[in-house]
């Protein structure tokens, strides 16, 4: 309780902490919502690849003095196209193609960072986030991406649902399924940039997958799954920022740990899917 009061006081006093919280909440929402589609399409590894591929884009943008945003989207989408191209035009399967390009693009990013010298750009912050240094500009960018992505998903909800659930029918009725796939890749790149400060490139996949997976264990309807996932994302962000401030530990990692704990709880105790709950039900029914 004392810690909580201390934290609330600090939030009231320090704008950097306010920014951190707002950024965390936005990232929690947008990653939570996008993540549901990533999970249901079985693209968790693809999310990992796109988020890593963003590194060279960000560094090149930095070197040219361009916006992070543009650089990240270009390398993110190029990588998605590359993965598709390799798996369609050779005997290499999707997961291997992802493995090759994930590490390859990331390595290019690391090399670029080392050539420009570590004083000008902080690799640690790009990789693991630096939520306490979120500027006003960063905040506006994160807000813009969040609102834009949520609008896209809201408008094309019907198309996303059908192409995810039954791609063959989606194609049969003339939906551009390939375009929808690349739109999601584009969204993934955007979301990674939005999460750069909060959790960083390495851990953004956790924000995409973990809250969505937690929600998936709790409900049988997609709209509910999207909502719960966003809620879990927000809880992870707020509680994560709280602990990171109180105990002075890395913020991104702290957020991800909270998300993982929420998942563990759902995995054990979800009313329908929980391992412990199902075990308990078996015990009671076999006795009866």
């Amino acid at each position: 309780m004392e810690n909580l009061n201390y934290f609330i006081d600090a939030v009231m006093t320090y704008p950097f902490l306010q920014n951190a919280l707002i950024a965390g909440v936005l990232v929690g929402i947008v990653c939570g919502v996008v993540g549901c589609f990533i999970i249901l399409r079985g693209m968790a590894l693809m999310g990992e690849a796109i988020s890593h591929a963003v590194l060279p884009g960000v560094v090149i943008a930095y070197m040219l003095g361009a916006s992070f945003f543009v650089g990240a989207v270009i390398t993110g989408v190029l990588t998605a196209l590359g993965i598709g191209y390799i798996s369609q035009n050779s005997r290499i399967k999707d997961d291997s193609a992802i493995g090759i390009l994930l590490t390859g693009t990331f390595a290019v990013g690391v090399v670029l960072v080392t050539t420009i010298g570590s004083t000008s750009i902080n690799v640690w912050h790009i990789l693991f986030g630096n939520v306490l240094a979120v500027s006003r500009t960063d905040l506006w960018m994160t807000l813009g991406i969040t609102v834009g992505v949520l609008i896209l998903i809201f408008v094309f909800y019907k198309q996303l649902l059908l192409s995810t659930f039954d791609p063959t029918m989606a194609k049969a009725i003339g939906l551009p399924t390939r375009l929808i796939h690349y739109m999601l890749m584009f969204i993934l790149s955007l979301v990674t940039v939005a999460s750069l400060n909060t959790v960083g490139i390495i851990l953004v996949v956790a924000m995409l997958i973990t809250p969505g997976a937690t929600a998936y264990l709790m409900t049988d309807r997609l709209p509910m799954m999207l909502t719960l996932s966003a809620v879990f994302g927000v809880i992870s962000a707020v509680v994560g920022v709280y602990y990171s401030y109180i105990y002075d530990v890395a913020t991104g990692a702290s957020i991800v740990i909270v998300a993982t704990l929420l998942f563990t709880l759902a995995f054990l105790f979800s009313p329908k899917q929980g391992v412990f709950v199902r075990w308990f039900r078996r015990m009671t029914t076999s006795k009866a």
């Binding site: 249901l40 659930f165 049969a172 998936y216 049988d220 799954m225």
Partner: protein
């Protein structure tokens, strides 16, 4: 309007290998049409080609004398059950409402009328009591009926069903074939990909024997002949005769 589907010299190849070789046929309307052939015969490829989902090397396809792209609304597809992720967070009624999507503009959401139509179709297949269930909680036969309800909700004139009897118990199979007959009697045309020879004579009005090329197409009794079936299955069949010598049964070896 005399033909439901008209295919003219259609060839399709997959990864450089010939999947369908120079197929030509004209299918009647208001019939239950079986597509039979061994594994890898191109049965699924043929229906995907007709629906314009796989690129063709050559050939021309007309659905109700129109190009497919103009007729998408009129064509419903019932997927092979193995293609669906039954853990997906949708309820039975959500799935059936998807059948209304082709009737909606790209920005429109399904409304009250669409929901009513979906419920009506669920009643037609006898699944209305399950409408609030998650799709994976149903048995295979019930899932298949839900997907048929979705095709009905689309109000299409032409239905493609990919292996609707695969992995389904006999009593469900009976329910489903009765349903398909009912749909045919409403004036629709159904193409059914099927791999089991035992019920062919009982189930279908017309029959297509396929093994990359078209081995036979026509009225069931004209096509379901040991010689043609043997040709389609590359000789891997046996003919069993009944004791009185009249009946015969064809089985795949």
């Amino acid at each position: 309007m005399t033909s439901s589907v008209k295919v003219d010299h259609l060839s399709v190849s997959y990864h450089g290998e010939m999947a369908l070789d120079n197929i030509t046929f004209e299918a009647p309307t208001q019939e239950l049409i079986g597509i039979i052939g061994p594994n890898g015969a191109g049965k699924s490829t043929l229906i995907k080609a007709i629906m314009g989902m796989v690129p063709k090397n050559q050939g021309d396809i007309k659905v109700f004398d129109q190009s497919v792209s103009k007729m998408r609304q009129k064509i419903a597809y019932v997927p092979q059950r193995s293609m669906i992720d039954f853990d997906f967070p949708v309820l039975v009624e959500d799935v059936v409402v998807m059948g209304r999507y082709p009737h909606l503009k790209w920005w429109q959401r399904p409304g009250k009328k669409d929901r009513e139509k979906a419920l009506e179709c669920l009643e037609q297949v006898g699944m209305e009591d399950f409408r609030r269930r998650q799709i994976g909680e149903l048995s295979g036969g019930q899932q298949q009926r839900v997907f048929i309800a979705r095709a009905l909700a689309q109000e299409s004139d032409l239905l493609f069903l990919d292996e609707p009897f695969a992995g389904i118990d006999l009593s469900s199979e009976q329910i489903i074939i009765n349903l398909l007959r009912k749909i045919r009697n409403q004036g629709k045309t159904l193409f059914v990909v099927h791999h089991d020879l035992s019920k062919v004579e009982e189930y279908f009005d017309s029959l297509m024997l396929l093994n990359q090329r078209l081995v036979g197409f026509g009225a069931q009794e004209d096509v379901f002949k040991p010689q043609l079936i043997s040709e389609a299955y590359n000789g891997n069949i046996a003919t069993l005769h009944s004791e009185d010598g009249d009946g015969q049964m064809v089985v795949v070896k």
